[in-house]
Symmetry: C2
Subunit: 191 residues, 2 copies
């Protein structure tokens, strides 16, 4: 019995689908779009893929295991810019494939945990946010995917801001997250 | 020679990829997510798919043909809520498949137009925006896809707003397009 099964099912349903959705969107796209950004200190689709890969490796499941192990020390902080060194020399298609494989393996590992409602309510210490639950961590994993999918859609859209001419006033995505005047954090979201 | 080829290539690259990206994201997703919205008078992923289908049928290519035919009367207005009657009784998987097929046919028709730079600069009359070019229409077609892909990512994310707990403050997508207090236009963008 896993009373939180609907939430876990929703989370897994999203986590299982984003890699293929991203591959379908990005594989073979012209390089100028793959490396486009929304402006100063923002991330390209290429950068985002490296960030998602790093999250699969060092963030989500390691933190889940940390909680399940009953660790009382905070999670290790997550390096949100690791991809700028780790992706070097890699083609986008390699990043897409790597993300798909890591996600598949991580979802298999997650299924193997046979999580119960009691597990969902187990807590860990986030280095900045304080007490968080395993259920919150898993939901964040899925929403983080969607945040970056939305970021990629926005970035590809903004590459055509001038090309759409007067239609720009109808296309709300072109006005989302408009560049702030003061450079601040890169990318879409922390974790 | 098509000097606008880079722009046309970018546009076609996006238009060719969004249907499969949407299918990968949505096919088989739990029904509660398929019908989730961002709040009053906003659209679910199911609603969006019907809207995209209607655009393939009556908006984008008909307007392109209207321009190429040298019509001086304005485009027919586009009914942005037609999907609420047209999608009735249809399963999401049928909508996804229909969108893929219509897009494939429309891109084949677009390729058959053998557009030149002169064609890109040809103008039509939008019923609200006034003079627009064929190039702007085609770029809008692609950005409109991305606007709705972003909308779907946002809607699926917001369905988990409570579930992410304290992480919500890091997940910027949860704060995008926050519901306005006065009900206004549905959905993501006009066209």
């Amino acid at each position: 019995m896993t009373p939180h099964k609907p939430l876990l099912d929703d989370i897994v349903a999203i986590l299982a689908r984003t890699p293929a959705s991203l591959s379908a969107l990005l594989e073979g796209l012209p390089q100028a779009l793959v490396t486009a950004t929304e402006g100063y200190n923002t991330w390209s689709p290429y950068d985002v893929m490296g960030h998602l890969i790093n999250g699969e490796r060092v963030n989500w499941l390691p933190r889940a295991r940390h909680i399940l192990a009953g660790e009382t020390r905070p999670f290790d902080p997550f390096d949100r810019t690791a991809q700028f060194t780790q992706s070097q020399g890699k083609q986008l298609s390699e990043l897409l494939k790597t993300f798909e494989l890591l996600r598949r393996d991580n979802l298999a590992a997650l299924a193997g945990m046979n999580l119960t409602e009691a597990d969902f309510n187990r807590v860990g210490q986030h280095p900045e946010l304080g007490e968080v639950t395993l259920g919150q961590l898993l939901a964040t994993w899925a929403v983080h995917d969607l945040d970056h999918l939305g970021q990629i859609a926005r970035t590809l859209a903004k590459a055509h801001t001038r090309a759409v001419g007067p239609w720009g006033q109808y296309l709300s995505i072109l006005k989302d997250r408009q560049q702030e005047s003061v450079p601040n954090q890169a990318g879409s979201s922390k974790a």
